[in-house]
Chain length 339, copies 2
DNA sequence: TTGAAAGCGTTACCAG
DNA sequence: CTGGTAACGCTTTCAA
């Protein structure tokens, strides 16, 4: 029997309308009655019912957030960014993990719609999936994070994945590497991985290095995935001297395997990552990687969503944040003797 | 103008009550009308309004989750566990980050109450804070995760932090260490850190090693915090040969500092962590640490909460999960020569 | 400055 | 098996 504004009204001897006014800080309430109401609220231990308010105002004061895996620090960081921004606007976030499944994302979106979130910030597995089209044609505002801007009519905040991949692979080439492989995330789970692999191939190509299909492996975007994939790549001949990994987890997993085989990094093999999670600089060897501003990505995404909600921004907006190549020491000059 | 069950009713030529029945899978609807209603729903693009339903049923089908920092993989894992369990029950989770602040936790709880979450799973900074008492006396069910069972009337899922700390410190002692320091999280931000430090002190004491206040430093539960604290501990004389860290992040940060000073691990100094985040086994050197079942913690916490919600469980329940000492190679025998 | 009353979109009880 | 209708707890005109 949680009390309602009706109870408060009775105690304070005013109408529910007045109670509602003081609750909403409407200026048109005399200080005296205002105090009476406040006292009455104390008295009966009233707790505002946001659900009732939402039904009446058609505003849930909540946004939905969907990430592939909250356990990936990149997504944890951006979720934190979204959350901080949303909270500062008085909004809550309702969170969903998709485990890199478009189907799950679709389901989560449906639930969010029913719960009447005012907007969604999400990182989807495949921006070209049909449910994204459906979402686009619904009137629910949403902002994509990290995804590839294949569709110019979608709001999104991301980095230039193609360019970033190109740059880090070029770094390997400048170090003298010619036999460069890649461990990518499954393309159907991460359009970022697909595009990074394109940047990778383009870079090889433009430097006169022919790409071999067996030098690229798709795997899970995890330590374990990297570890497994590296075992396979170690069998390739002629041996690879540099590996570009779709994310830092994979890179660290690959390093684990290499080390277990008794090989040295970067002496025998150079490893490049992607994301620059905090751990990358504490790892041994420190990981050469692409920095992307994860927390900022979340903040910018939320900011864009709220601008759309407030009508401050109209058409689709595509924000490309800066990335940067972070040179550390998991990549070194190719070992000429070995070549 | 999203359509309502009223619109659906009109199209299908039935009453809203009937529409509601098919929406809720009530068996008492003739297949024919059921089909008509379903078709009508398609036709007008009806989306169920969960807010209205919540107001009517007084069930939000949502639980609140509060973590100190979603960017800590331990909490990310348990959040995932909570989420998976909640989703399987048809529930959503609304997430809040407290940044280890009791005040923020308190505020988040208030928002959650207004949003009428049906229960809360949280890791609080200080279980003895006043707001927890208030929460206890409200009728909102909640389950604490990771916290110290100082209050037997609270529902919680945790491990035996005291014992775990004791065990890992004893491991160091068995390796011959006598000069053992500790880097702990700030006690007012983490009651776990406080209790771990008690286990640490007790272990020293019972092994006839006197504890010196300057051998224990409180810091942030981050890489950076560990890095900083270790710089200070390196100045202590006689030098410490083993360091017990409140979590793996701190441990890795400490290792970074030690390595920068040109010292070897575990040759010169042994480092023990706590948590066994996945990274711990990929790190170099692999971290000796205490494993705690983070994902399982979340699952168990959610499970307990739902049991309370369904009335299946009555009184306060305190579940102590198993931890285990994971011996890797960041801790080794003390260097006798150095002693 | 305040009150009365009509919604907001469901559910659920009571009839039929 | 189906319909009518009063809640659910709040907001928001419209009047006074």
């Amino acid at each position: 029997m949680p009390s309602t504004i009706r109870d408060v009204a009775k105690i304070a001897e005013v109408s529910v309308a007045t109670v509602s006014r003081v609750l909403n800080r409407s200026a048109t309430v005399k200080e005296g009655t205002r105090q009476r109401v406040l006292k009455a609220i104390e008295e009966c231990g009233f707790t505002y019912n946001a659900i009732a308010r939402s039904l009446s105002t058609r505003k849930s004061v909540t946004i939905g957030v969907i990430v592939p895996a909250i356990t990936n620090p990149v997504f944890a960081q951006s979720t934190k960014g979204i959350q901080d921004f949303a909270n500062s606007c008085g909004y809550s976030i309702i969170l969903g993990n998709s485990d890199y499944s478009s189907k799950m994302e679709d389901q989560l979106v449906e639930v969010f719609k029913e719960k009447r979130v005012e907007g969604i910030v999400l990182t989807c597995s495949d921006i070209r999936h049909e449910y994204i089209q459906r979402l686009k044609h619904s009137k629910l505002p949403f902002v994509l994070l990290y995804n590839i801007p294949f569709d110019k009519e979608l709001n999104l905040v991301t980095i230039d994945n193609y360019k970033a991949a190109y740059e880090i692979v070029e770094h390997l080439i400048h170090l003298g590497h010619r036999r460069i492989g890649m461990i990518a995330g499954y393309f159907n789970m991460s359009d970022r991985s697909l595009v990074r692999s394109q940047g990778f191939k383009a870079c090889l190509n433009e430097h006169g290095i022919s790409f071999q299909q067996r030098d690229l492996i798709e795997t899970d975007l995890t330590f374990e995935g990297g570890k497994r994939a590296m075992k396979t790549l170690l069998e390739v001949t002629p041996p690879l001297t540099g590996i570009f990994c779709s994310n830092d987890f994979i890179g660290m997993g690959a390093i684990k395997t290499i080390r277990e085989k008794g090989l040295r990094i970067p002496g025998d093999i150079s490893i490049a990552g992607f994301d620059d999670i905090e751990m990358a600089s504490y790892f041994y060897p420190e990981l050469t990687t692409i920095h992307q501003p994860a927390y900022q990505m979340g903040v910018k995404g939320a900011e864009l969503l709220f601008k759309i909600l407030s009508g401050e921004v109209e058409g689709p907006r595509q924000i490309i944040l800066d990335h940067s190549l972070i040179v550390r020491n998991s990549c070194g000059p190719v070992n000429q003797l070995k070549q």
